[in-house]
Structures are given as C-alpha cells and as structure tokens.
Amino acid sequence: MTISYFILFLSVIGIFLFCYFIATRVWIKVDEEKKDSNNQPKNRRDFLYISSMSIGGLGVASFMWPFVKSMSPAEDTLALGSTEVDLSEIGIGQSITVKWRGKPVFIKRRTEEEIFAAQNVDLSSLRDPISDEDRVQNPEWLVLEGVCTHLGCVPLGQKMSDTKGEFEGWFCPCHGSHYDTSGRIRKGPAPENLAVPPYRFLSDTIIKIG
C-alpha cells in the first residue's frame, strides 16, 4: 500500500537528517577540540564518521520496513470480495442493506418522486456537485456504500421508521449529516457524497458488487 511506502520514505529521510545533523555536530566539536589543542588541519577521518553513520542509519531504517508493512491489510484481506444480490424481492420505495468488504451497502429501489427530487437539484447548491445520472446505472436502483463520509457511521434511512433527514434520503445520527435521495451530502459536517461502490447488472434482477 502506498501509505507504508510513504512512511518508509519519511523515516529514511528523518533518519538521514538526524544522522547528518549529529555528524555535523560531531564534526564541529572535533574541529573545535583540534583548534584548542594543536591547530591541526581537519581530519579526513571525519568523512568516514559521517558516511558510516548515514549507512548505519539507512540500515536501521530499512529494517523498520517489514514491521511497518506488516500492519497493512494482509493478502487475504486484500483479495477483493464480491457479492451478488438478488433484487427481485425489493418493492418500489424499499431498500436493503448487504455487506460488502465488511461495509454495509445500501440498495434502494427509488420511487418516481425520489428520482424526480434527485434529478432536479441545482448542482451549484451542492457541496460535492455531481448529477444524479452520474451516480446510478438505472435511475430506479440506487447503490451506495452506507458509510458516512464524515467519521464512518452508518446513516439511518434504510428502515421505514428511520429518520431520513431534511432531504428525505439518509441521516447520520452521529454528527448530523443529511443526505438526499441520491445519497449526496446536503447539510452537516460530512465533506463528500456517500460513495458508489463498483457494481454491474448481471441481469435485470441480479447485481454484482465489487
């Protein structure tokens, strides 16, 4: 994962700088001591000090790598799971929650009014502007990752009895983010719209997520 490489890069730079400054200090001190004692010229051995410390530092840094990398998701976790979902049982206006890669995915069969509301929004009024057409493959079916983009809670709105928020979509109870019928952020602290996972229709009633 890129983040582990980033951390490796930072630690190498950090250790290199550390060694460099330490070495420079040693150099200066050695210099001063020489001046004090017998005014000898700079010793070429100082170069050896610096270079051996730097190489040693790099060695330590590269030894850190396996430890850092071991914390990234393991290979079995990385192996992308995919989920097939049968949509035939879902009535108009209903929605279901399925689990994909440990996260909840919302699948909603939208009503005419909801599609109309989602499509007729002034895009410039949105925080994360994108039209409803770009978020769905078939306007009737809305597929979303049910993870609030603020701090990762699962928004309410899947059950009939849930609070759906001011825009009749989803409402995150943790910190009060309101999403509309296209899962776009309309009000509250979340910075982005609910993510759309990769999916495709295998037939009219079966979709494959992932």
């Binding site: 890129t2 983040i3 914390m71 998701p73 890669r101 701090l151 309410l156 109870p173 602290p189 910075p191």
Partner: protein, 410 residues
C-alpha cells in the same frame, strides 16, 4: 566475605553489600526519605502519588484480565461476559480496571489543574510539564484502545469514528487509516493490534512516569505560594511527613473507588456497550467516554471534517507550549488577582465542554460547545500571554516560612 575496604554506611550488612554494588539504597533514601518537600504543600500535592498507585493497580488488574480475554471479533464479547459471570472474581477485576481507568483520568485532571493553578509548569519545570502532557496523550491513546477490546457497540463505533479522524488528513489520510486498521473497516486485524498495543502502552507510560518523577526531583516540588525553597526551614522530609499525607489520601481514594466499584460499577459506562458489535447498525447516539468528552465536543463544534480534527488535536498540542505562552514570572495564582479568575473560568469551561461533548451535537449544545471552544483557545493564546504582561502580581512572601508568619495559611 566482605572486603574490609567496603564502606559501612548502614547497620544492616546486606544493605551495605547491595549499596557498594548498586547504590540503590542511598538513592531511595535520598529521593523518598530525605527528599525535601515544601512544608506548605496542600492535599493537591498528593494526586501525583495517587496517580502512580492507580497506574500500578491498572497494570496488575489488566494483566490478570488478559489471562481470560480473547482478542478475536467472534469471541471477544463473550470472553468479557465470561470474565463477568464465570471467572472467579472476574467481575471485580473488570470493574476495578474500567473504573480505575476513569479514576486515573479524574486524578490526573486534578493533578494537571493543580499544576496550572499554582504555575508548576513554569521555569525550571517546563520539561516536567511536557513529559506530563506526553503521559496524558499516552493515557488517552491507551484508554481508547482499551475501550475497543470488549467489542460492544460503543467499542466498535468508537473505534470507527476515532480511526476515521485520520482519514481527514489530505492525500495520505485514507491510506493511513487503512494502515492503522489493517483492513478496510474495523475488523479482526484491528482488534488484535489494539489488544497488543493496549498491553504494551501502559509500560511505556510507566517509563515516562519514571522520567516525570526524576525530573521533578531535580528542582524539587512547587508549592502553593509558588516561591523557591530558600532554606531548610522551608521544607519537611518526605518520610514520614509526606508519606503519611499521601497514605491518608490513598485511603480516602480507596473509599471512593470502592463505593463506585461495589455500588455503581456502571455509572461511568455506556449501556450500549453491552450489545455485541454490529458493523451494520450504528447506535443512534455515539457517546465519547466522559474523560475524552471535552475534546470530542471541540471536534463536533466545527462543521468541517479536517478543521474539527485539527482543532481537537490542537487543543491537546497547545498544552505542550503553555510554559512559553505564560509571560508572568509569578507562579501561583494565589498571587495573581486577575488571572486567577480566568483560570477558574477555564476549569468551569472545561467541565462544560465535557458535558456538551456527551450530549447530541445540535441546537443549544452545539452553541455552547462553540463558545467553550473559543474560550479554550482564547485562554491559551490571548488571555495567558496578555494578562502576564499587564497584571500587577500580589506581594510574594519572602520565603515559604514567612507564609505562616503572615498568618495566611496557603
């Protein structure tokens, strides 16, 4: 056996034998026997000793809990229930550990407020304060990790919310979050590493506490008058005077924590954590642990994700530079007639922030949180530097001994 050239400092020959090879006996004698404490120190000076005793209690009870705990998503919740129901005295160990953690924060908060009120963080004890803030940071991390382990609903969603804070960092945030979790969501990999870290961090805290204590012993303890020790008349020996005082404090603390453990063990817990973790259902109201609530309130008061995260961490980070923000030479607020009241207001404000941090983030609570947030930062960045410049401090006693001669016993 004993070489005749070895010095005979103590009556006990075994102590002499040790002392010659490792001078730990004289060290303990110097630091915990003859160590001079200012004689005007009040009971607020017992909270440091109290905190270290609680730390030991937490480590011991934690080790015994770990013997019965299973860090796996399928088994963690049930293993905690087993500790509560089947393991002999498991309930006592667990309630001692969870309530002990809460009391650790209470005691450390009082310890910190004492340092702030009496100016203990000022020259020459700045490094001591920095080490203390570092301990506080480690404590917050450790308590968060520990809160995840029972794998209830609050554990799971608390972990989700806190680790998502890192995803607010631009560019690397999302990757950093995945690296910390070891998965795309909070999962088994996360629980495992949180358990490993929760086990090791208390020992790191113990190490830093050692440095913290060693550092305070270099220049000696501060005192309510905030003036330096000038002569032997200003002090009493740690043993027996302060030891007795600290022991009395530990007894009082023991009564209080026993009352909580035996009569209200779940007073400071959230009921939702007795529901097993469910990744598909978020509890309607995620509550932070009360001891982290002031910072949680700051996080939620900002309607912007990155901004909230920056301010929350900033609220802790700003403590590190407090010794350099305060421009006044007078340590104790007892002799600072104006700053004293701003300090009191700061304490009240901190409590209020904690309260609103546990309430839903809407309406009046949001407004209060925002006002509290402004005061929190204004106190450090504007009030503290400015008042130090313009305030006329009260007349300081010439020595600690004179405090008693003045007839004002503080």
């Amino acid at each position: 056996m004993q070489n005749s050239s070895e010095p005979k400092k103590y009556k006990n020959s075994f102590l002499n034998w040790i002392e010659y090879r490792l001078p730990i006996v004289s060290y303990i004698e110097k630091e915990y026997g003859d160590y001079p404490m200012p004689k005007n120190c009040n009971y607020f000076w017992s909270f440091g000793a109290l905190a270290s005793i609680i730390l030991v209690i937490l480590i011991v009870s934690g080790i015994f809990l770990a013997m019965n705990y299973t860090p796996h998503t399928d088994m963690a919740f049930n293993s905690v229930e087993r500790i509560m129901r089947d393991v002999s005295y498991g309930w006592l160990l667990r309630y001692l550990h969870s309530n002990g953690a809460a009391f650790f924060f209470i005691v450390v908060y009082i310890h910190m407020l004492r340092s702030m009120y009496y100016g203990s963080y000022k020259y020459p004890r700045e490094l001591n304060w920095i080490l203390g803030v570092f301990i506080f940071l480690l404590m917050m991390a450790t308590s968060f990790l520990g809160y995840v382990l029972p794998w209830g609903q609050m554990s799971y969603w608390g972990a989700t919310v806190i680790t998502n804070l890192f995803s607010a960092i631009p560019l690397i945030g999302e990757g950093l979050k995945t690296w910390i979790l070891g998965d795309y969501t909070v999962g088994n990999a996360t629980l495992n590493r949180f358990f490993a870290l929760h086990y090791v961090l208390p020992f790191v805290i113990l190490g830093v506490v050692g440095l913290h204590v060693a550092a305070v012993h270099v220049h000696g303890s501060n005192n309510p008058a905030g003036i330096d020790i000038k002569s032997k008349d200003d002090t009493v020996k740690f043993f027996p005077y302060m030891l007795v005082k600290d022991t009395f404090m530990v007894c009082v603390f023991g009564v209080v924590i026993s009352a909580i453990i035996f009569f209200g063990p779940n007073l400071m817990a959230e009921v939702d954590n007795y529901i097993p973790a469910d990744p598909l259902v978020t509890p309607s109201h995620i509550v932070a642990n009360w001891y982290l609530a002031p910072f949680y309130a700051i996080l939620r008061a900002i309607p912007d994700k990155l901004g909230g995260v920056i301010l929350m961490f900033g609220a802790i980070a700003i403590l590190f530079i407090l010794p350099w923000l305060d421009s006044s030479k007078t340590r104790s607020c007892n002799y600072r007639p104006i700053y004293k009241w701003f300090m009191m207001l700061f304490f009240v404000n901190f409590f209020v922030l904690g309260y609103v941090g546990m309430m839903p983030a809407e309406g009046i609570y949001l407004l209060i949180a925002r006002i509290g947030l402004v005061y929190y930062f204004a106190f450090f960045l504007i009030i503290t530097p400015l008042i130090g410049k313009y305030e006329k401090p009260g007349h300081l006693p010439a020595s600690i001994r004179d405090v008693y001669i003045d007839g004002k016993n503080y």
